[in-house]
Symmetry: C2
Subunit: 192 residues, 2 copies
């Protein structure tokens, strides 16, 4: 971010009056350009003992498998966004979606909202941002080719709950340590 | 948004190739300027049968009461953001925070994450964006001067759960109808 989107003058990095952190600020028109975390919405779609995965055609992690997910758009709810991503990435119709987990990824400034539900009629077909789609049981997951460690962990929890016949809601701050496995901090309740 | 923040040239409104909706696009440097929903994080803090409310010193709804809440910042989790807002708006220390509800407000392009917990030592004092703070029981809530209908509804649910000795998690899409009360759509499970 180099220029003001309101008046095209160069921006400076400074702490605005009454604020406590550096922002991009235009000293000509006094606009403060805030930057905020983004919401990613995704879903685990189940059909007859298998779930839908997409092999990504875009970066990051192109060529690797994950659940349908993407940035939430203005004007939609997280649930609507999760259903839209399933449709866009896999021509998949998401039914009976319920909130499965809320995962904060502060190092990426992302909030990951994961829903679970049913894949209508088991139908799926690769969308524009997908190389291929597939339905996988716990035994046939492409473990060596998963795009994100967090999604692997989420799917483990999903299948464990499915086997136990329970529906739980997950809420975790995910802290990425370079060179180390992802660390999941469950915090219900959490101490501050 | 009028000018490209990367090269200062005028932006146009168009559907980028491979996309399905209009964005702000720079035809000179080919940057697409996406706009996404923001996360608002807030908390209900309890102390000896009362909860903390802040009378807002800023718009929207300056002069009216709400729970401590504000936009999530880059680099923090929603839970951290809720605790920070309590500290900033009411010098309040949030303990034992747990996720209380996730409320999508697509008409405002916001995702509202509400936590509940304890107010340490019952201590609170107005921060810079707050006219005054107060501790309120269900009977003494300033019902005629609440800033947001959604927060009123949330607090009703909070107190009902508190009275029943239960902890539930709420998840709703909130649709605002002009001239009509807020409509809460509970969707666990939801049909798409």
């Amino acid at each position: 971010m180099k220029y003001c989107s309101e008046c095209a003058k160069p921006l400076v990095r400074m702490i605005p009056e009454g604020d406590d952190r550096e922002r991009y600020v235009c000293e000509y028109c006094n606009t403060v350009h805030y930057q905020n975390p983004k919401v990613v919405a995704g879903c685990i779609l189940h059909h007859q003992g298998k779930i839908l995965l997409c092999r990504r055609a875009i970066e990051p992690r192109s060529g690797y498998w994950s659940i349908p997910a993407g940035y939430l758009e203005n004007g939609e709810s997280a649930l609507q966004g999760a259903a839209r991503e399933a449709l866009e990435e896999a021509h998949a119709c998401a039914c009976d979606l319920r909130l499965f987990g809320v995962f904060a990824l502060p190092h990426l400034s992302q909030l990951y909202m994961v829903y679970s539900g049913e894949l209508r009629d088991g139908y799926c077909k690769a969308g524009d941002e997908t190389l291929e789609v597939g339905l996988f049981s716990p035994d046939t997951l492409p473990r060596q080719a998963m795009a994100f460690q967090l999604v692997e962990k989420i799917l483990q929890d999903y299948w464990a709950d499915h086997a136990a016949g329970r529906q739980r809601l997950y809420h975790a701050d995910v802290i990425s340590e370079p060179q180390a496995p992802l660390q999941l901090i469950e915090h219900e309740p959490a101490q501050y």
